[in-house]
Subunit: 215 residues, 4 copies
Amino acid sequence: MPLSSAQLIERLHACGEQIARAGSELAARGWTPATSGNFSMRIDEDTIAVTVSGRDKGSLSPKDVMAIGLDGHPVGTIDRPSAETDLHLQLYRRLPETGAVLHTHSPNQTVASRLFAKDGVIALHGWELQKALTGYTSHESRVDVPVFPNSQDMGDIGRNVAAWLDESRPLYAYLIEGHGLYTWGRDMPEARRHLEALEFLLACELDLKRLGGTS
Amino acid sequence: MPLSSAQLIERLHACGEQIARAGSELAARGWTPATSGNFSMRIDEDTIAVTVSGRDKGSLSPKDVMAIGLDGHPVGTIDRPSAETDLHLQLYRRLPETGAVLHTHSPNQTVASRLFAKDGVIALHGWELQKALTGYTSHESRVDVPVFPNSQDMGDIGRNVAAWLDESRPLYAYLIEGHGLYTWGRDMPEARRHLEALEFLLACELDLKRLGGTS
Amino acid sequence: MPLSSAQLIERLHACGEQIARAGSELAARGWTPATSGNFSMRIDEDTIAVTVSGRDKGSLSPKDVMAIGLDGHPVGTIDRPSAETDLHLQLYRRLPETGAVLHTHSPNQTVASRLFAKDGVIALHGWELQKALTGYTSHESRVDVPVFPNSQDMGDIGRNVAAWLDESRPLYAYLIEGHGLYTWGRDMPEARRHLEALEFLLACELDLKRLGGTS
Amino acid sequence: MPLSSAQLIERLHACGEQIARAGSELAARGWTPATSGNFSMRIDEDTIAVTVSGRDKGSLSPKDVMAIGLDGHPVGTIDRPSAETDLHLQLYRRLPETGAVLHTHSPNQTVASRLFAKDGVIALHGWELQKALTGYTSHESRVDVPVFPNSQDMGDIGRNVAAWLDESRPLYAYLIEGHGLYTWGRDMPEARRHLEALEFLLACELDLKRLGGTS
């Protein structure tokens, strides 16, 4: 049964508050420089809440978050969604358990995406913190984070994501070259735990490389 | 029509508040060590507001900001403007859309200015965040940030800036060797977005180099 | 004479408050990413207070800290202790002066543990701050921090710790490969001083290596 | 005319407040890890105020600061001064303009002291921020920061400082190998400006080296 308008507005506001709080904390870490980054949460089966285009992620309020259908149509607003909204929608459609998606832009994420672009993937293994990703129970497992080429056409990026998912390979996050990280979870706390763990793992992987170590 | 004295005083105060807030936030990031850096805003066609020489940029108040004509004459004050005021005035004269100029001195900016001094320019390309610079719409474009030699004579630096502008090459920011960054925008929010984006891009460029990657 | 229930509850609460404050300050430095890390304090000869499994270390309250006997049995609670509690208990049993144990997970600690894993030890010498470790009085001494292999079976790690202690070698801290640092002290302030000093020493050791220096 | 007891107590308290504020701000930057570092100010021609041994520099109050004569005798207290007080006293005796001395222990200072120990000096040139050191007016000048060997006997270090001063070479700061930085100024604001500038310059010098640049 679809939500009533009143229910939708209430849930949109609740999502907006969670997104604003996340934005404030992630911006303070320097992960959304110069208004970059965008965030979303699922409102119901067919609708998500997503940040409006171009807002400063460090000072979001619920009115900077709008509703959009999984089909891409804004719901009850004339605001324009973030330019990368299609990538959010794809994740909610293809991975129905997804409840929150975070796209950030830290220096470590961005540098790692350039450095590993030619490999197309960063293979993380041997780090205890891999266990912070839902489904992983040992540092001996291997976490593959794909690195897709950047494009100003979201369709190009989406096709690469789809190709990976079509092969039924597990996917918890991906990088776009020179651009940053997408990660997600069943709800906002899980998405944030995944983000915090991946930022840490990429930071360690890069630093080990700077020091001439092998992972 | 020129501003009345009362209007000038009011606008100077308003600029002073914006400059003080910017100073506090930029100093907290460590971008104005040991009283370095200076900031300005346009008051009207012929007059700008600029920080007084030698003040701690982390604890500015509007009384640390003075008015100066585009001709370099202080307006209604005996304060001495920042030693580098001529570089600010040049930008307001040559680029009439300019509404705010920020000069900072972060470790990344300063180190990049030394490292790329022999090339005379840092060519940024392949980074999504280039799009945070007004006028850029793709990571595939190329942003040239010139690196000019340092001098204790502002005229020497100004002549190099002028030569670049005379060739009608786009200019959004420049570095001075061993010294730091100048950037600007139509208003203070745009100038700050440019500064935040350039600091991020220089940080990424340096880190990629540390890691042996090629950009 | 064993503690009365009322005394135990009171002391558990007091330990909980110290642990929560430590957690808040260490999380703010980024040393417990994504709910990693765990902390404990001695309540009496046979009982310790330890963080409950899986809590965010940056927002602990005394109710996130439970009592457990040195024999490993929870005392007066159905909470589950941190998965690594056995490593805490081992330290309280083998080193009776121990009053507080801290396990953290900073990038420097984690990267150092990978880089020096093949040596099995990091030998610190020549740093004045070694004197912050109780018992050391000169930078000319040598502090050995062993690096043990990681395992999802705490028994494997514990056996390596025991083997080191059986040789009566001094032990103030150890690293687990890809995983982080354990350190301790007679009370929480000493444990925190040890942690702060070791984090500093590992950071310096790594940076000296990045710069091609020899220690 | 010597100070009366009441005047001495009042000035000691005023110095204690300035030292406590400096300690709080420098500790927050991570420059006094694990109770390291010590600070002093001149009370009058013959007496200085110095931090008591072993206190946490991030939470000093005026009662953590004691008076001591230039001859090394505590004045009106049974507290023990910082172990390195003799190095402070030497600076007040040999450089009579000195009003405040700061000894800190940042990672950059400590790593630089190890890396350049074999040269015995770090020669800074080409950095605009050298001008933040009183007496320097150009980036083209050269600032020599000597690096002296560490010793647990302050007399050994003091003899090296004296030998440098005996040659009438300018001295604004020195490093002790593996140990940290001493710098000073006519008053606390100047000493802090020197410290902030030197930390910045050492950070840039190290980073330029990491990047393979030459200074």
